[in-house]
């Protein structure tokens, strides 16, 4: 099962007799990259754990809706990404968080999480990402950290590749500018 290609895994997921074992392999194969993707959005381990489990449970419930038009990984990323964004919105609404200083809020969240072990520069990078507009933030994380192709990102975010390239370019510029401005020499 572990040596299956993505296509073979999809075929086994479509077969009711092999679905459960194929899904177990799917969880094993994609839990790490999806975890990191979710974690970079919501920042804390506890929230990431909840969202990751909900992502896989949601994927299991909707397996019949997965037609195989897209890659399995892209489909899972889309579910994980949507769950993470929903979580952020609910969290902001529940705690009435101000959105005027996202960098400061990011720093506080990172420092309160016992599973964050980064130095000042890494905190600065995550704070810089937090200052980006939502779309630029999403594109940057999917492109830079998850190393997905523009075509895959376009499928996850339901947009065109052209606008993604522009967003990514702006995001990189803003992040380097922010880091330069906030680095003490």
């Amino acid at each position: 099962m572990r040596n299956l290609t993505d296509q073979q895994l999809r075929d086994q997921l479509a077969n009711p007799l092999t679905r459960r074992s194929a899904f177990e392999e799917t969880v094993r194969r994609y839990s790490r990259p999806l975890y990191m993707h979710i974690r970079r959005i919501v920042l804390t381990h506890a929230d990431t754990d909840d969202i990751l489990q909900n992502t896989f449970l949601s994927a299991w419930r909707n397996l019949d809706a997965f037609r195989g038009d897209s890659k399995l990984s892209t489909w899972l990323y889309r579910i994980a990404h949507n769950h993470s964004i929903d979580h952020l919105r609910q969290h902001r609404a529940r705690h009435h968080l101000p959105i005027d200083d996202p960098a400061q809020h990011t720093l506080q969240t990172l420092e309160s999480d016992p599973w964050f072990d980064g130095d000042q520069t890494q905190k600065l990078l995550l704070s810089a990402i937090a200052t980006l507009p939502d779309r630029q933030k999403e594109v940057f994380q999917l492109k830079y950290f998850d190393e997905l192709k523009y075509s895959e990102i376009a499928e996850i975010l339901q947009t065109t590749e052209g606008s993604l390239k522009a967003s990514y370019h702006h995001a990189v510029k803003k992040i380097t500018k922010y880091i330069k401005e906030h680095t003490t020499h």
């Binding site: 679905r19 969880v27 381990h45 754990d49 449970l57 397996l63 600065l124 830079y144 380097t176």
Partner: protein, 124 residues
């Protein structure tokens, strides 16, 4: 890779600051699989209930019986309660005593004074 990207790379090439508890991913797979029922997802949906012929015609039968019942009830009520005919209607009218009106009331309604009315009556 652009210069800007290389600059960011310098930071991210260090160790990953987002740590995970030991053995988390091994337990995660078991944890998720334990929340998934043994039967495949598509078999979990309840089967479509089979409706037999009796169940299909039952509401129509009840409704028809109800209308027949109402019709019979109204017909019986009509038989018990006699309808007024033109003959007994006249008799009923004749049995009622005529309403008494005084000269004063009549004069008031005609808007003339009673004396003029008396004069008019006596002239006849």
């Amino acid at each position: 890779m652009t210069n800007d990207e290389q600059e960011i790379k310098k930071i991210t090439s260090r160790n990953n600051p987002l740590k995970v508890p030991g053995g988390y991913f091994d337990q995660l797979t078991d944890n998720i699989m334990s929340q998934i029922p043994d039967t495949p997802a598509h078999k979990q949906q309840p089967a479509t209930p089979v409706i037999n012929l009796w169940d299909k015609i039952k509401p129509w039968l009840y409704m028809t019986a109800m209308f027949i019942g109402i019709t019979i009830t109204f017909q019986n009520i009509k038989k018990i309660k006699p309808q007024p005919t033109s003959e007994n209607y006249t008799a009923t009218e004749q049995l009622q005593p005529p309403e008494e009106i005084t000269i004063e009331q009549l004069a008031d309604e005609a808007m003339i004074d009673p004396y003029t009315l008396y004069q008019y009556i006596t002239e006849e």
